[in-house]
């Protein structure tokens, strides 16, 4: 862009972002990709053990993405368009599945819905087979719909009510408005939601590992090659296959949304309310959200009950020993590290993602497509390889002075950047360039236009980036498993250790403590953000 040469600070900022991406996404990942060597790849590909997992992965991604996005859209629509009650409650419950540390939550599903599950067998006398494809599909739908919901709700809430009002005034019914106005205008958000959800499902390891049985997908294969057999070469090759798949998804998405315009926020102010939806629809949405929330709460309820009993479900004597255990030794440090790392990573990641989204979406400099892909790519890298890449790249003698906590935070920042980035790009595509131009023609630099004009409008995208990065950082096991040191242990590592120790009570108590702390932190952030936004508006 011409602005680059005219605005040295902008050029510097761009170079800075490129340098960060090269140093913290590309460089560590290259370490993993080159590890097997050409012979290693040839041997592994010829071995053919990857074919079935590849097929399974594709199948799971297609099924789970469809249902997760559908559910996420319904949830988002209900939250943004209807005047149903209990919205704050649903908003909170909608975040819960994002807050599920691997292993424990999937185990709670088995406890409830397994062959001798409390619900399936205890109430209905059924012995369903939830292991395998069906189980993965169900659990992933619940686990990943919140991603889609967050991204879609952000886009829907930014859509212009005037267009919908106009359509209604012209005689269109609610369904027709939805189909011909709302849906098309939310396409960038939908595209971003589908792509992000699909890539995260592709990369999901925890759920298939616990509930998949023999149904192996690529991430579980990669993981088991390392965990069961120490076969790093094969595992790195599998990881590369995953990257290739992510690239394919990315290209498909590029084709999907072509070069159309989705602008719904222009320079002119809009204060029109959304057209009301029929009360029947509101109630239907309420019922749907209630059912979904009920299911989610049941799963977390099982965790809470497990945490307060000796050996749920065989011995349901009430006890607080599990929580006493959580309070002993260095467990408190692990919980503190979790929250501190998550907060720092989320704050940096969200702002960086928004800024990078602006650079890519608003710029016209060469190579922005490449940067675009590189910023989405981390979503497709299984966490263990992100961690191994960081360990290989940054465990250097000359870096020994750097506290390991910083490396962990950096890995969380860049591993989680895709959601915030996708949200920022989707948001920006709905904002008319005349808004930036108004600022620049009044003499503001582009950077200032970003800071003072776009940044406030994109608060929603920023929130999406912050919240998802925070919850993923708080719940990730796979990234930190290769990076943590005794003083930088986090809650998920402790939970993993307890699960392997067959200490179900301790593991669930730890999970409950972790989730509660994370929710408390999110509530504090929400309060702080509200104060901040009010201040910002007063200033503007």
């Amino acid at each position: 862009m011409r602005g680059l040469t005219r605005e040295p600070p902008l050029l510097l900022a761009l170079l800075g972002v490129v340098a960060l991406v090269l140093a913290f996404i590309v460089y560590p990942q290259v370490q993993v990709v080159i590890a097997p060597g050409s012979d290693g790849y040839a041997a592994f590909l010829q071995g053919g053990t990857w074919v079935t997992p590849l097929r399974n992965s594709l199948q799971v991604v297609a099924l789970s993405t469809t249902t997760a996005v559908l559910l996420g859209f319904l949830y988002a629509y209900a939250m943004v368009y209807t005047d149903m009650r209990w919205k704050p409650f649903f908003r909170l419950v909608g975040i819960l599945p994002l807050l599920s540390p691997p292993f424990v939550v999937a185990a709670a599903y088995i406890l409830l819905f397994g062959p001798r599950g409390i619900v399936t067998y205890g109430i209905f006398g059924q012995t369903p087979i939830i292991f395998g494809l069906m189980g993965i599909w169900g659990v992933q739908t619940i686990a990943f719909f919140p991603f889609a919901y967050q991204l879609i709700a952000d886009v829907l809430s930014r859509s212009d009510a005037r267009m919908e009002q106009a359509a209604r005034n012209l005689g269109a019914g609610p369904w027709q408005v939805f189909r011909t106005v709302t849906l098309p205008l939310s396409r960038p958000g939908l595209g971003a939601a589908i792509l992000t959800t699909a890539i995260y499902i592709l990369e999901d390891f925890g759920n298939p590992q616990l509930i998949g049985g023999v149904f192996t997908v690529l991430p579980t294969q990669a993981y088991s090659l390392i965990s069961g057999f120490g076969d790093f070469t094969g595992a790195a090759a599998v990881s590369t296959i995953l990257l290739a798949l992510a690239l394919a998804l990315y290209l498909a998405k590029l084709r999907l949304d072509g070069g159309r315009s989705f602008v719904t926020i222009s320079g002119r102010a809009s204060s029109m309310p959304r057209p009301p939806v029929p009360p029947g629809l509101s109630w239907a949405c309420f019922a749907g959200c209630l059912a979904l929330s009920g299911l989610i709460l049941m799963v977390y309820g099982a965790l809470v009950v497990s945490a307060f009993t000796i050996a749920f479900p065989t011995n349901i004597t009430f006890t607080t020993t599990n929580f006493q255990f959580v309070a002993t030794g260095s467990n408190g440090d692990a919980l503190r590290n979790t929250i501190v790392f998550g907060t720092v990573a989320a704050a940096v990641s969200a702002v960086l993602a928004l800024f990078a989204g602006w650079l890519v979406q608003r710029g016209d400099w060469p190579g922005r497509r490449a940067l675009d892909f590189l910023l989405i790519m981390p979503a497709a890298i299984p966490g263990i390889f992100f961690g191994i890449g960081y360990l290989t790249a940054f465990n250097q003698t000359w870096l020994d002075w750097v506290d390991r906590g910083w490396i962990i935070v950096l890995s969380m920042i860049f591993w989680n950047i895709p959601v915030g980035y996708q949200a920022a790009v989707a948001g920006l595509r709905q904002i008319d360039r005349s808004l930036d131009e108004a600022a620049t023609s009044l003499g503001a630099s582009k950077l200032r236009g970003f800071r003072d004009v776009l940044f406030p409008v994109l608060a929603g995208s920023l929130r999406v980036g912050f919240v998802t990065t925070f919850v993923r950082a708080v719940t990730t096991l796979s990234v930190v498993i290769f990076l943590f040191t005794p003083p930088t242990t986090v809650a998920t590592i402790r939970i993993y250790q307890l699960v392997n120790d067959l200490n179900w009570g301790g593991a669930t108590a730890f999970t409950v403590a972790d989730i509660s702390l994370a929710i408390a932190a999110l509530l504090v952030f929400a309060l702080l953000a509200r104060g901040r936004l009010v201040l910002g508006m007063a200033r503007g």
Partner: protein, 355 residues
Amino acid sequence: MTPQLDRRAFLKLIGVTTVVAACGGAATGPSAAPSVAASVAAKATGRINIYSALNESTNNELFAAFTKATGVGADVLPLAAAGELQTRIRAEKGNPKADIFIGGDSSFHDGLGKEGLLEPFMSANASAIATEAKDPSGNWTGWYFGVFGFVSNTDRLTKEVSGKKPKTWDDLLDPAWKQKLVMPDPVKTGGGYIFLATQVFRFGKDEDRAMDFMKKLHPNIAQYVGTAPQGIQLVSQGQFVGGPNWSHDILTEKAKNPGIDLTIPDLTGFEIGAVSIVKGTKNLPGGKALVDWILTKEAGELNVKLSNRVSVRKDVAPAPGAPTLDQVKLVTYDRAWAADNKERLIKKWQQAVGL
């Protein structure tokens, strides 16, 4: 360095030498040459970094006892997953952070040793250990056995399989077990693969007979799970009736839920829990002190108490309910062969059962 510091360090060294020499002498018994113990102990001081694949509940007490016995401090990185620790040590080879790698089957250690990432050390205390439980080149030393057993849910076993626990693995082919068993996936878990390889060794490396067994067993397996402890958990919950699994973990779960039981069918497989010193260690004497100590009777007994595993030392009694090595019939398990033929066997198994 000031002369004063020098002197303090010197005095400390003298003190440690005296204390540890005394301990070493007592622990290794009169037969061990006192000069060896003293020369090792003379340098053992400071702290060591331990990458431990042992259970959570074992780590704390075990290494606290080590520090108490030797004066060497221990910083433990606990991760009950030997494969992850192995990968970590490999990824860190340019700038090693671990001094000791402990726990997990010897094959995880052996892989590192073959890549030259371990520091060979033959402890004087290892002399009494059977040759197959230690590396001839000294890269690793075995110090416990994990035996593969069978977990059953007593209530469901009585009602549905007429209470018959398997005496041999072949007993599991009984149609009464149809869709009632759960076992670790041979593809995803080290334990599951040990079970598969055990069958091959049980039939004297007659792979066709072994695969025939696995094929007939398949209809009785309701589920192959991705981690071994999950199998025990599911039987404990009553989701399934029984399954092959690690006997020490079964005993750990049984302490919490008496409704399950352990049996050890004949000709079963096992892991050799190993310890090794990582090449590039900054505290070699400290690492050697740990290997020496972990092979003592005292450490063996403590580990049995904490983890229910079986010591390599014949003079260490097993945990209550656990078998001694004389009581169980183990297969002749060819570890090197099992590692080299892994991919081939797994593929053969997948074809046999149609997965």
